[in-house]
Every structure is written in C-alpha cells, then in structure tokens.
Amino acid sequence: MDMPPPRPERLALKTELVARLTEALGPTGVIHQLAELRAYECDALSAYRCPPMAAVLPRDTAEVAAVLRICHRMSVPVVPRGAGTSLAGGALPTADCVILGVARMNAVLETDFANRVIRVQTGRTNLSVTGAVEEDGFFYAPDPSSQLACAIAGNIAMNSGGAHCLKYGVTTNNLLGVTMVLMDGSVVEIGGAHMDAGGLDLLGVICGSEGQLGVVTEASLRILPKPEGARPVLMAFDSNAVAGACVSDIIKAGILPVAIEFMDRPCIRACEDFAQAGYPDCEALLIVEVEGSEAEIDDQLTRIKAIARRHDPLELREARDADEAGRIWLGRKSAFGAMGQINDYMCLDGTIPVSALPQVLQRIGEMSRDYGLEVANVFHAGDGNMHPLILYDANKPGDLELCERFGADILKLCVEVGGCLTGEHGVGIEKRDLMWHQYEAADLEAQMAVKDVFDPAWLLNPAKVFPLDASEARRGRPAAA
C-alpha cells in the first residue's frame, strides 16, 4: 500500500505551524516531538506507520475550528483521529499532516430519556455511552467488538456495526444529529432530538465518510430501552453449507434473532486452544441469540431449534444460565485475541449475500491452499458480513505482501458474488485501491464530487477511500486563498 510522498513545502512549515497551533490550544494541546508523535503513527492496521508533523488534542468545537482554520490557511492536511482502532488505516498519518485527536472531548452533554436521545462529545468511547444511561435502563445499540476502546467519532466516520446490528442496525441507523467543523473552520449543525433532519440527508452521507468531509465534534445518538433478557444457543454442524442453509431458514421463518454468529473449523480450534470455551469438535458453529422475557425467549428458541434440527446438527446447546451464556460467547468474543496469539493476522470484512455463503467459504478454503496461508472465518452470518482472518508471519520477508494479495482476492470474490469490499471496517488505505473492483469511474466521481463540496481543497484525510490514481488531480489542488 502506497501513501503519497510528503511535500517538502509543507514540511518546511512545521515550526510556524506548531507556533500557531500552540497559540490557539496552549502548549498542552499540541504534540510535536518525534518521540511523543510515535503514539499517533498508526492505528490498528499496524503494519503501516508514519509519524505526523504534529498532533493536536482540542477540548471543544471552538478549538477544533481554530485548528482547522490554521491548517486550511497553511494548506496542511488534517487526519482526524478517535481512538485509533481502525482496522483499515483510516487514521494513518502522512509525514506532512496534522493529526487531530478528539480523545479529550469525551463529555456527556445531555441525556434525555423522555425523547430517548443522548448528546455526547465524539471522543467518548462507545461503551461509555451505554455506561452513561444503563442505570436508567437504556443502552446505545451499535456494539463493535472494540467498544471498550473505540470512540463515537470513529464509529460515525466508519459507520461501525456490531454483533447485534441484525436487529438494531449500525451507526447510521442510530445517529440523529451532529455538530461538525468543515475544513475551513466553519461549524455546521445537523439534526438533533427530532427524528429526521431537514433538507437533503447530509447526516446519511457524513456517516461513513471516513473523516473526509468534516471533523465531527458532537453527536446526538438514539438510546433504546434494555431488553428484559437475552439467551444464546449454540449449534454445531458438520459442514459450512448446512450451517449456511440453517441461517437462511431461520431468517425465512420470520424470527429475527439479535445476533447470528458463524465460526468455521480453524477458528473454532484456535478459540478452543485459547479460551477453552468447550466448543464441540465440528466444521461450523452458529451462535444464535434472542431477547425478551424468559417465556418469550423459550418461545423463540423452541422455534429456532426446531428449524436447526431439520439440518441434523451435531449438537444443540442452549444456555441454562448466565454462566453458560457467557461460556458460549467466550470463544467468539476472544476470536481475534486467539488468532493474535497464534500469529500475525489480517482481518477482512467483505459482505456477501447470505445465499452465497457456502460457495464463498469453499473458494476461500481453496485459495488458502493455493497461497499457503491459513484462514479462519468468524462472522456476522445474519447479514452476510464475513471476517476472514488470514494468518501470516510479519517477520518473514514477503509474507505481508502475500497475505495482502490473498486478502484482495477474497474481497474481489465478495464483489463477484454480489457483495462488497467492506461491511463495517471502512475502506481507509486497506481497500482503497480495490475500489476499482466495486465501482466504475462515474460511481467514484459522484462520491468524490461530494468531497469537493465539503472540502474543496482536499485537505481532510485526503489519501484514503479513493484509489490514489482516481483522486490524484484533486489532491494536488491548492487551497483557496
């Protein structure tokens, strides 16, 4: 993956830039020593690193606006950063940019239970949004596995999802309003506690725009009443195809579980070794979770188990208590950790039509043999969002590149069967150059036209999302005086 080379004329501005930023934020708000900048040199796609020219940690919308005005005037690119957990390199700096981190902006500004909305500064972590309302019986629904660390800012930028989005939707379905600062320092307010913002659906296009349209500083989020209870059932099958058919039948039967998670044999084995969750020895596992009162849960699980039995499961294990429920989820939740223990890994997240599941898993298995790299599959089966984890050895020359080529082939396969490159992690730099496989020139042109309107000089996170050859002419543009 290439990044555009830093521009000498920008690097030459460092002293002046740091002085101006320090004037605006005070010395504690600006980081410019190389040793300290290391903390901002990468996100969770840690194979790629590059310290920025400076990093700033503003405290509120006004300070963000001040930073952006300065950078705009000096024509210095800005890369917004939440918690740096992006798996796509979304928050990766270039050497001639300023990292704008919102981590200090983590206040709850208002909770309004009557209207089921919370307003927060976007540096607040995902889990602590729920933390602020759970005593009153509410929760914030989108639940990325990284929810302990990741910030609402990054969730909005990536339109993040989670295991429970089959029922509750992803970030965009739970976002009611934002305060956002444009690259020229102007502040816009969109939406609020009412259910649809007026005019064109700008909120819809801002969510998922990967920090390229503006810096989101505050957000109004929909909160929901907590369900009475939840219970998972674990199902073991002797082939991926049968497990896939079972998923489709459950959905067709008109029961909508909150989560349907799928793990294949390599993943089951790794999780077993790592977490001893007590998973059966089988080709494919499903974890299906439903919500409601005890009686409602029984009712739904009875129907779901009846469907599963028609597919001859090797085992059906229903959690009898919280402890067993915890054990069923344990392996799934530690899947990434388990993989990290074995090896370096790359986590993909292409989405496919649920009906293509068996076919795609088989092809991935074949490619795995051809490339000589192991793959484990763990994913949100209800909505077809795959997470193939490719294992490689970072210390072995050429292995990362081999792994990336394999990953690209898997993603192309996802597109081929009617799916897409990324279901929830975003394009970032990781899938940037694969966009040509998903979109024609006119499709990309229409998306880039949106950025032209919000950020005419292409200074916000410019080298992401769009293939470098597609965005080159725009990235070269001088800022308006």
């Binding site: 259910m195 659906d201 009906s355 024609e440 229409a446």
Partner: protein
C-alpha cells in the same frame, strides 16, 4: 418522456436542456410546483431479484408499490418502514412507485422504532442531471464501501438524480398484533404515555395520538407486534405501566388493528377537509406546546410525538411556532407553496452545502429545479 431502460433515461437527461418534472406514479405531489417536461419512470419497472432468505429485494424504480407489497406478502414479508398512501391526503390519483417512495423517503408509523425508508435502502442506481449513470451501495445488508449516496438519494425528491433501480431490506410480517387504545387523554398526557411506552422494553412498533378519533374523541394508540404469546404479554405489561395515565384497552382483531394504523399512516383524518396540512418533525416532548401555539389547529401525532401532522386555517404561520425541528407545507395551493416554501429553509451553511451538491449532481439545473426550495 417515458424511458424504457436506464440507458434510454441517461440519453434523455443528457440531451435535455430545459427543466424536467420527474414523476413515478404522480401520487406524491409535494414541493414547489415546477414547469417543465414530464419524465415518467413507469417504464423502468419490475422486480429484478427477491431473496426472502436474505431479506433483500431489487426492483426497477418505476415498479408499482402494490406489486412489491404483493410479492412480499406472498412470502410472509413486508416493507418494515410502512410507507403511506398519500392520495387521499393530497387529492392525487395514480399508482405509487417504489422509486417515488424512496425519493420522498416515505416512512410510516413503524419508523419510530424500526427506522425510516432510508434506513432500509441498500443500494441505488440513478442517472444524474448530466446523464451519467451512477451506482452506489449494493444488495447486501452491511456496506461501508465508499460514501453512502444511497441515503443522500433517499429523500432528495428527484433533485440530485433520477432513480432507475433500488435495492432494499425487507422484514418478516409479524405473526400477531395488539393495539392499546385509550380515549380522552390530553395531548400532553398522551405524549407522555407514548414516551413512557417507548422507553420500556416491550418493543412498541407504533405510538400515535389523534386529537379527533373516528367518534370525535381523542384517542391514543400503541402497537405491539410479534409472536402471539409475546404480544399478549407485552400488551398486559404496557397496560400496567400506563395505568396511572389512563385506562388502556387492548384490541387484537387483525383487520381492525390494521385499519387503525392505516388511518394514521395515511393521515386519513384530514382527507377532503379544507385548510392547509403541515408535517412537523420535532422533539417529541415539545410537540404538544407547539400544537397549542397554533390557533384552530387539529393534530395527528405519530412517532411518539416526533411527527405531527397539523391541519390549520389557510395562511397560518406554522414555522413561527417551532422551537427546533422543521416544518413542511405538505398540502396547500400552488401559490401558497411558492410563497411560503414547502421545505423549511436550511440555515446558511447547510444551504450552501446543499446548493454545492446540486451544482455537482445537476449541473444544468434541470432535475425538479426549485422543488425543495
């Protein structure tokens, strides 16, 4: 003009030099009246793909809504966002199309918890104002590959492009439905009852209040859908929860409950009555005060109070009564619509972004120009 294919649509728009009025079935005549040649999408019709096991459908934009709903019903599924039929309210005729539903982001009572039309859209194909064919999104349920132009197109009323194909998520039809009904509540009492119900874990799927129900008295309605036993249980719990506000009875009859929610969805209380109709999108708890400020108004509250339809005497300055949110002049004379503006003017920075997007997507200014203001 009535193209039979997307390619023909693109040619027509590329060649056009004068404004076009984009129409699906012509049932949703909202917005400033525009002069221009009619461009009908009826030729871009047909369900292209339907996978009940994946909860997805792809259809030409001109496909009649009725055809889509019938195909879904045959598999026990439905459009969860419950799009309304506005013919009675607007005095229009014709057949609503799915493209029109998406372009107007038509979302009924279930929007309060299930989400709006835009929340169910997975992909679009459209032709922009320069005649370029653009696709965005796809047919899978999770997709963050590039910017979400699917949402931008939903609710853009044909001003950024003409939809040629849409793909969307569908959901299973519920096995059973129960509706809690209470007569005689004040607006304030009703909205607080709806808010309490929506804040409880019983998964309310509709929360509405009519100032004048069928027999003239105010009626508050709360809907629960799901498995039969679950609906019975949840209705019982809600009755207990709301007992100090009012005496809620439970109606379980499928026909009558369906008709009751169609009445709300289609804003039936205002059909054929004199006066102007506004649609307010507001913070739910503020809705009753806003309505109280409007002399001679009658209100239908939906979405727990977040959506208010008001019937007011001609010329009522409704926007002056708002404290946030926005108001759309839904039904009025053409002259009044031109004078007041149908959509609430946006604050300057947002208006500038919108104008910028229109200039990019419709450089010739020919797609429903001025419809949204």
């Amino acid at each position: 003009m009535r193209p039979d294919s997307e390619a023909e649509l693109a040619e027509m728009i590329a060649a056009a030099e004068a404004p076009l009025r984009i129409g699906g079935g012509g049932t949703r005549d909202v917005g400033r009246a525009i002069a221009g040649d009619m461009l009908e999408t009826g030729g871009l019709s047909g369900i292209r793909l339907y996978e009940p096991g994946a909860l997805t459908m792809v259809a030409g934009a001109g496909t009649p809504l009725a055809e889509i709903e019938a195909a879904l019903a045959a598999e026990g599924q439905r459009l969860a966002f419950e799009p309304g039929d506005w013919r009675g309210l607007l005095g229009t005729e014709g057949e609503s199309t799915i493209g029109g539903v998406v372009a107007a982001n038509v979302s009924g009572p279930r929007r309060v918890t299930a989400g709006a039309c835009r929340d169910f859209m997975l992909g679009v194909r459209f032709v922009d104002g320069a005649g370029r064919i653009v696709k965005n999104g796809g047919r899978v349920m999770k997709n963050v590959t590039g910017y979400d132009l699917v949402k931008l197109m939903s609710g853009s009323w044909g001003t950024l492009g003409v939809l040629s194909e849409v793909s969307f998520k569908v959901l299973p039809e519920a096995e059973a439905r129960g509706v809690l009904l209470c007569e005689g509540l004040s607006d304030v009492q009703a909205v607080s009852a709806l808010s309490r119900a929506l804040g409880a874990p019983w998964e309310v799927s509709g929360a509405a209040h009519l100032q004048r129900g069928l027999d003239g008295a105010p009626v508050t309605m709360i809907r629960v859908e799901g498995l039969a036993d679950s609906v019975a249980y949840r209705c019982g719990e809600l009755q207990k929860l709301l007992a100090d506000i009012g005496d809620f009875t439970v109606e379980r009859d499928p026909e009558r409950t369906a008709a009751g929610w169609r009445y709300i969805r289609d804003v039936a209380p205002f059909h054929g009555r004199a006066g102007e109709v506004w649609r307010l999108s507001v913070t739910p708890s503020q809705a009753p005060e806003i309505v109280a400020r409007l002399d001679g108004a009658e209100a239908v509250y939906d979405w727990g109070g977040g959506l208010v339809w008001v019937l007011v005497p001609d010329g009522t300055p409704v926007r002056a009564a708002l404290t946030g949110g926005h108001a759309t002049l839904f039904r009025a004379s053409a002259a009044r619509r031109a004078e007041a503006g149908v959509f609430q003017p946006q604050p300057a920075p947002l208006a500038a972004l919108e104008a910028g997007l229109r200039a990019k997507f419709d450089p010739k200014g020919i797609l429903n120009p001025g419809l949204m203001g």
